[in-house]
Symmetry: C2
Subunit: 261 residues, 2 copies
DNA sequence: ATTTATTTTGTTAATTTGACAAAATAAATC
DNA sequence: GATTTATTTTGTCAAATTAACAAAATAAAT
């Protein structure tokens, strides 16, 4: 049966479900690239996903929503729970860099809280992970709370993260790709109005491959969930692209059945 | 932030991660139908999924494997973690029938264990759920352990289950359907050798729709992961169907990329 | 009017899907 | 040994989809 290598007694803060946390991989689409919301602890070199504990009176979805909204100010986000991580290495003593980061953070706490908090962090945590889709243009990121810096980072520039958070991000991207056909990325990741090529670039960013412009446009328009508006005047010396928006009624139905790509 | 309706202190059994459990939806293919492994508590009318607690030294995957192997004797099963359930109603006091069942079970315990065990069961549990695919023909179900009866039940005959276990089963079926193209159902659910029509019936059972026999056969054979063997002699007055088995090397590659259906 | 970059539509071959029908098969029975 | 029977296997063909390129249309600025 189960091995019991280290039998650590389970400490916890009253009112909080012990041993459980929630982590969120928040996707946003900025400057034609997919970005993820990451946190950096001040005075350290450690980055982390936005996350938090689960309160005893709270549902997980609610908690994930709160985590995201406290950073972004947006409170109706598209949530997708994709995996629960439970590796025995999920504690702050496993990697040297994490341990050092923790010491720096502990030093800022009142003396009497340091020991208990440290003990909390060397327990193995089970973390249920969500990916979250939101319209980055609407977001006003709160850059600094509790000495944590919040930033949009593009997928190609993700630094080393705390614990197994890199693995979580990677798994989130794979989940995003796999579920793409059933996700309302048009509603959630795009601004109110957008150009066709912008929409295509989003698909390309998620799928990680080039799509034919002509074929993409024809396919999307045939699905019939885009409403064409006036053109976007950039001041450039070329034809202005049309702007499009989503016909929500049509789109919701299509997404429920799955948009084949 | 999080509401704290009922602030119950978190009790737990030493060595076990508090508030967390694992539940398994075990799929098997029997008599041309999909079945699920269910448990019935003796002397009650309550059915449940096979499940258990998470030990502090154990990974979740390992735990799910143990749960299944203790019931079936099989210890290399195909696991797929699909969701973590955290509703505030996930405790044995929520539904009257569950509560009565619990009382019956408690009565069988030694006096001194009754109160503590009851207190454990009225806490909200977070349950990470797996679906498991295995070859039902290999399984020798252990029908009775700890006063629990273990049975294969076909999807159309699933009774009312304890807690939110019906919801868990339904979500497992939906997950099975959605991930079908990436699941090695041929290796895991079918016996060593099988007929084409049997294989087709499996697909039909999962997808819940009729498939054209000719087209199915052509498509599968074109994929090239089936090896044809001798015919199956049933004694019936008709052409004997060929038996097929899986070419694992080819199949694994195809499943990794996704077999389109 | 011309330049320019981008959108939009066309075209075509190749492939896949869906629906149905016909042929082949082989064991058992008469 | 011919016949019956149920099932597998192959055939056909129209319709739809995909993939890859090419050409045309567009409109703002020069």
């Amino acid at each position: 049966m189960a091995k019991q290598k280290e039998l650590i007694s389970n400490l916890h803060i009253p009112g909080i479900v012990p041993s459980i946390s929630i982590d969120c991989v928040v996707f946003g689409y900025l400057e034609k690239k997919l970005h993820v919301l990451l946190i950096k602890y001040k005075d350290t070199q450690s980055w982390t996903l936005p996350g938090g504990f689960l309160y005893e009176g709270a549902e997980m979805d609610e908690t994930a929503t709160n985590i995201v909204s406290s950073r972004t100010g947006i409170d109706n986000v598209y949530l997708n729970q994709f995996y629960t991580f439970s590796s025995l290495d999920r504690h702050w003593k496993h990697k040297k860099k994490d341990w050092e980061c923790l010491q720096t953070l502990l030093a800022k706490l009142p003396e009497r809280d340091q020991k208990p908090f440290e003990e909390l962090m060397i327990q193995r945590y089970i973390s249920t992970a969500y990916f979250v889709l939101l319209n980055a243009a609407e977001v006003r990121v709160k850059p600094d709370i509790h000495g944590q810096l919040c930033n949009w980072i593009s997928l190609s520039e993700i630094p080393e993260l705390v614990l197994d958070h890199n693995e979580i991000v990677n798994k989130a991207i794979r989940a995003l790709r796999k579920r793409l056909n059933f996700l309302p990325i048009g509603k959630t990741l795009m601004p109110e109005k957008f150009t066709m090529s912008d929409f295509q670039t989003l698909y390309e960013a998620i799928l990680g491959k080039y799509l034919d412009r002509g074929n993409f446009q024809r396919k999307i328009m045939k699905l019939g969930f885009l409403i064409r508006h006036e053109k976007l005047m950039t001041g450039a010396q070329n034809k202005a692209p049309y702007l499009y928006s989503i016909d929500h009624e049509v789109y919701d139905k299509l997404v429920a059945e799955g948009i084949g790509f």
